[in-house]
Every structure is written in C-alpha cells, then in structure tokens.
Amino acid sequence: MFKKLVKWARVKSPWILHFNSGACNACDIEILASLMPHYDLERFGVMLKASPRHADVLICSGPVSKQIAPRLRRIYEQMPDPKFVVAVGACACSGGAFRGCYNVMGGIDSVVPVAAYVPGCPVKPEALIDGVAKLLGELNKESA
C-alpha cells in the first residue's frame, strides 16, 4: 500500500535535478527553456530541485570531463533510491562532438547508469519533453 503510494507520487510528480557535466551550455539552456512558460514541462508535475537529496531524476548534459566525473558519481550516490538518470544531448549520450578529446570520458553512461537517452545537438525542448514523458510512461508500467 505504502509502496503504491510512493510510486504514484513519483510518477505524478518527479523531482528533477539538473547537472551540467562539462556541456557547452546549449543543452542546459534548452532544459531551462523547456521548464519555462512557453514549453512548460511543469505541467507533468516535474519540479526542478536544487539538492540531489531531494531528486528522483537526474537530468544530465555534457560529455563528462575528467575533473567532473568524481563529482557526478558523488551526486548520483547522494540521490535516494530508486533514481533515474536522463542523458540529454548527443555528447551526454556518446561523447558527441567531443568524442576523442583528451579530457573527456565520453558520455554519462561511462560514469553512472542511464535510464533514458535524449539525442540532439542541442536537444530541442520538444525532444526533451518527449523523453521525459516516455520515462514517466515506463515508470507507470512498472508500477502497474
């Protein structure tokens, strides 16, 4: 009963944390833009939180530079279970334009497990909304 309630709350109102792991800012402003009135991701109950300890979903952009990798791992570990990571942008999915650069790990999944990939360089807000909606749909199925 309690589990059901938690799952219901998670699907209806996921709290997200945005983290830039060495991205070029383009994805980050698009993430922000999709939370703004024009696209309004908040209508799905999504809420941007400041602390990893409050977040269910980590929205992460960037190819993960070597200096940020331990921080990303630490932030991931600080999040309460169950947690989901959404890799936003081509470089978060695979390294993208920065693949092969000497200071880049190449994708979020080289550091932490990823639940959803949203490609695009940078992602369009529409694509991001689609990705989040699909993730929520999956979570909903699991809870059924």
């Binding site: 983290f19 070029c24 940020i68 921080r71 360089c121 940078p122």
Partner: protein
C-alpha cells in the same frame, strides 16, 4: 586581535551556478572578505582537438565551445581564417553574419536579464523575459534551422540566405522586442524591491575594472568606454550607426541598464541591416582547402565581452594551433573582487552579474602536482603515510 574568518565552499554543483565552477568565500559574520575561484570542471580539450580536424570541421567543434554565444566563437575563428586566406567577402554575406550576431546578443541579454531576476528572487520577470526570448529563438530557428547552434557561418560567408518573408518577420520581431525592452527598462530602474537588491551591490570602480582587464557590458557598466564593434569594426559594423552604452553607477544596476539599453541598440542595428541589405552572393564561391602558413588574431564583441581567437596555420588543411580567450576569463577575477565587502546573500547576483560562461572559459587545466614550481597536492593516503612516518622519525613513536 586577529579577526576570525571562516571559509564556505560554493559549487561545483550549486543551484545558483548553471555550470560547474567552484568558489571559496572567506567570510566574517555576514560580510565577505575574500573569494577564490577554482575552475576547470568544463575543460574538454577542444583546442587540442582542433589540431586533428580540418578548418571546416573545426567550425563545427568551435561552435560547441559555448551554446549561448555559439555564433561569436565561430565568427571570431572564421575571421582569423579568412584573413589568413586573404578572402574578400561579399557584402550580403557580411550583413547576414552581423544580423545573426545581433539576434544572438538579443537572446543572450534577455536570458541574462531573466537569470539575474531569478537570482534576486524576482521570478515573474524571469518568466517574462524567457517568454520573450522564445520569440527571438523562433526567428533564429527559422533563418538558420537550429535554435541554439546556428551553424550559419562558413569559410568565406554564410550558408543561408533570408527570404523577403523572413525579413518581414524579423522586422516585426524588433518592434515587439522594443516594446518589451521599454517595459523591462522601466521595471529595472523603478521597481523598488528589485532596486534594493541591485543598487550599490557588487561595486567595481573604473580604475579597478581597467586594472583587472574587465571586458564587455561588465566593464561598460563601470564606465570603461570600450567596444570592439566601434573601436575595431569587423563584419558590417563599419556601416552601422549605433551608440556604445556605458553607465557610471559601477554596480549591478549599471550592468542591468547597460544590457537593457544594448538590446535597444541591437534592435536598431537589425533594422538598419535589413534596410541596407545589399543584393548579391552570400559566400565566396571557391575557397581553397589549404590555408597559407601564418598566424592571425581576430577580435569579436560577444554578448559577454571581447572574444579573441588566435589561429596559426602551417600551410596544410588543418590548423596548427587555435587559441581561444573568452570574455568570462577576464571578468571572473574582477567579479570575485567585486563581491568583497558585500553580504553572503549578494553572492549569487554578484557572480551572475558578469554573465559567467564557464564552458567558454575553461581552456586549460593546471597540474597541481607540478614539482618544478614546487606545487603539490597530497591525497589522503599520502598525508596519512606522511604523518605516521614523521612521528616515527622525529618523536620515535612506533606501533
């Protein structure tokens, strides 16, 4: 009596920072006594990567230095390459390039105004400016095909022409933006709660701004009358009439006023550009793939300040060295100084007032274990080992 201070670390993941960067503030009570910056979280090694790519592929990569001033970096780079090639660009190409420059400045300043309002807790203005920013983004998407990385530059001109219909849409946009900017100017200088947070905060005197090499709107708000667009005109800026906005208030209010009025100037410039838009080609038809040996420096007034690119060629189709000096690098030191003397509560807005862009800035990593300079960073394990050994040798304590 020595005053006791405590240090508070901020970042690299922090709600007020949109990008990773670490600050260490030394505070005494509520007052800030000193600030240190630790960067490098966004260093990806792009300058090195440029050496493996040809001039056209570099264009794609350098656009991704920063997502907000993407056009600035490609234009600065391409101007250096074009001067090495000795190309004479068609007028229409230059005008269209400048048009995107100014549209980018509009969207960047609107974005900044929203973020600044958000940092002081004025979220209504944040939502308003970001709604208006979407209008500019729609136009940029229509003329270039992408919302953020426009990819409109190419060696020898631009890649897309605008149609008469698009021209009309842009003119309509500037009308709307002018109305909205007048409204923001009114709020920015008359709203008492907003004023209370920004007036007299983050002071930076003219002399210190020059000494600290501040650039862009941050320097102009400290009454440093510098603008590359006027002082060293590039692209089509030589044909345009515009004012360089400065303010002598030397605080965050000045930075808001400078940026808001710059948006008005940008609208004026866009109107002039579309008015005078010459007919003809948009790009040089045949561009050699190999660039003659030499070196070139190019300056560009990005929304955040002066952006400098250095390109050295060795006669092949790949650059030998590309060096980027982004505006935030110059302003960051000055910003760290400007927070000294204000309260802890002013940190977010004072740092945000330079419009920091760390992905532009992080061009180098510094090795902390640099033995030649006597700098060394010890890990926890090394330190523990050292402690055990030291006591064994000097105090004879053995376990």
């Amino acid at each position: 009596m020595a005053e006791s201070t405590i240090k508070i670390p901020v970042g690299p993941q922090h709600p007020f920072l949109k990008e990773p960067c670490k600050f260490e503030f030394e505070i005494s009570g509520e007052e800030i006594r000193g600030a240190k910056i630790r960067m490098g979280y966004n260093h990806r090694g792009m300058e090195k990567a440029c050496e493996d790519r040809n001039y056209y592929q570099c264009l794609y990569l350098l656009e991704r230095i920063c997502g907000i001033c993407s056009h600035s970096h490609t234009t600065a780079y391409i101007q250096a390459v074009e001067s090495l090639l000795g190309l004479e660009l068609p007028k229409r190409g230059l005008y269209l390039r400048t048009l995107v420059c100014e549209l980018e400045r509009l969207h960047s300043h609107l974005l900044w105004l929203g973020v600044a309002a958000h940092e002081v807790g004025f979220d209504t203005l944040f939502m308003y400016t970001w709604r208006d920013r979407e209008l500019v983004m729609n136009i940029l998407e229509e003329i270039s095909g992408n919302r953020v990385n426009y990819a409109i530059n190419t060696v020898g001109g631009v890649r897309r022409d605008i149609t008469a219909e698009q021209r009309k849409k842009i003119l309509d946009l500037t009308k709307v933006v002018r109305e909205r900017v007048a409204y923001y100017a009114n709020i920015g200088t008359n709203e008492p709660s907003f004023m209370a947070r920004i007036q007299g905060v983050g002071k930076m005197s003219t002399e210190r701004a020059i000494e600290k090499c501040a650039v862009g709107p941050f320097a102009r708000a400290s009454n440093v009358d510098r603008d590359v667009r006027r002082d060293d005109p590039y692209a089509a800026y030589g044909d345009l009439e515009f004012k360089v906005i400065t303010s002598d208030s030397c605080d965050i209010l000045g930075r808001v006023v400078v940026r808001v009025l710059e948006m008005v100037e940008s609208c004026k410039m866009i109107d002039q550009l579309l008015d005078k838009l010459p007919e003809g080609e948009i790009a040089v038809q045949k561009v050699p793939r190999r660039v003659p040996a030499g070196a070139a420096v190019s300056r560009y007034e990005a929304p955040r300040g002066e952006d400098v690119h250095y390109v050295r060629s060795n006669g092949t189709d790949k650059p030998e060295r590309v060096k980027v000096r982004a505006p935030t690098l110059c302003n960051l030191e000055a910003a760290a100084e400007s927070v000294v003397g204000s309260y802890v509560a002013d940190i977010p807005i004072a740092i945000a007032s330079i419009d920091p862009c760390f992905s532009c800035t992080d061009r180098t990593t510094v090795l902390l274990n640099d033995r030649r300079r006597g700098v060394r960073m010890a890990t926890w394990e090394e330190l523990r080992r050292h402690g055990v050994d030291w006591y064994r040798q000097n105090k004879g304590i053995r376990f």
